[in-house]
Symmetry: C2
Subunit: 231 residues, 2 copies
């Protein structure tokens, strides 16, 4: 009976970690969305909210790392469960850095609004922002459902974001060259695009850890995805 009890308790511990990761994921998703809204609307107040909200993201990171450490010491998980915990520790880091990128976007939004710049650069980054938002949401979803197939599909999508990013860069550079007075505002859009592209990278990392947890296969830096999708 004690064994069964412990095992239930153990499952509950793992479940707590999983649901906290999703809570942290939800938080950084809304940080990212709010940052983009503040950039689109020149909303300084909302930008400030995002900047302040980063503290909460950081607190969750520390709390979750702690919870994972305690679980390992207390439960001494076997290889399979340990894989889940170690991936979680990595995912937490990526989530925290997505939070950092959201803050960068909010800072650009705030500065731009302060300069009272009428030019809105949002159109340049709208599509890539939508894609990164979806990618992040689906990566968290794949984590929640331990859906290795969805995760594998997502990893391939990061290339689309990278491609869109390079198109944005080229058009913004042309824009600056044609009218040097737009350099400052074009650079703002470049910083935002770069932050979005990084969010895409972090979301892809998360998807890779999901595959690692489910398949027990480390697919980072491999051509696993190409092979898998060709099958």
């Amino acid at each position: 009976m004690t064994g069964e009890h412990s095992s239930k308790q153990y499952d509950m511990d793992l479940e707590t970690i999983r649901s906290r990761v999703l809570q942290m994921g939800g938080l950084v998703e809304s940080q990212f969305q709010d940052a983009m809204r503040s950039f689109r609307n020149g909303d300084r107040e909302l930008a400030q909210q995002v900047i302040n909200g980063d503290e909460q993201v950081n607190r969750l990171e520390i709390l979750l790392d702690d919870t994972c450490n305690h679980l390992i010491v207390k439960r001494q998980p076997a290889a399979n469960d340990l894989r889940m915990v170690m991936s979680t520790v990595k995912i937490i880091t990526d989530l925290e850095r997505i939070g950092d990128e959201a803050v960068k976007i909010a800072r650009v939004a705030s500065n731009q609004a302060e300069r009272g710049n009428g030019l809105n650069q949002y159109e340049f980054v709208r599509v890539i922002a939508e894609r990164a938002k979806e990618l992040l949401h689906e990566a968290l979803d794949a984590f929640a459902r331990k859906d290795e197939k969805q995760a594998t599909r997502l990893i391939a999508q990061d290339a689309i974001i990278d491609h869109e990013y390079s198109i944005i860069m080229r058009s913004l550079i042309t824009y600056m060259m044609e009218d040097p007075r737009t350099i400052s505002t074009a650079l703002d859009a470049i910083w935002v695009a770069k932050a979005i592209e990084r969010i895409g990278d972090h979301a892809t990392n998360i998807a890779e850890y999901v595959v690692y947890v489910v398949e027990g296969k480390d697919i980072r830096h491999s051509d696993y995805v190409t092979t898998k999708l060709e099958q």
Copy 2:
């Protein structure tokens, strides 16, 4: 006797991990230096070497993560040792991302050399590159010697890099505005400066994990450093 033997073996396992982290650290240090040299000298061959060398960095990341996982399963470390292992897992991620930033610098160097651009932007980033190089080296050194004091000092230095970075940005923007024909090359310098600044961030993360290992105190996102330095 078996206990003693196991414990020695255990220490050896921990030592193996530590020395492999330092090996990986040495590799990314030279990747970063080679990338900067290829940018300075417009050396496409060296840039290509850096790009190819990333595979080795990635292999070490996977190998080290694996070694840490095995150690946890086999040795079931107590809280103290586990802290070391978990920090190592985080440090590995930062090292791998420093490697990625070195590749970005090498790509810029390669493209710039390909365009046969005579303008050398190296001077803009020389000082910040030197500082980031030192910061990384000293962070690895603090890790090797478990020197929490040195690590604490380093964390404060990242602010200097960030400050220099913003000065570079402003001067490059002025440069572009004064002569729009320099936009492309100035942007190259901006990408390199940004990569260097991120390397500084990652080196700072490493220093933070060193403090965490030695002091058992999680100082990420806190005003620990300010307080400590004021004492």
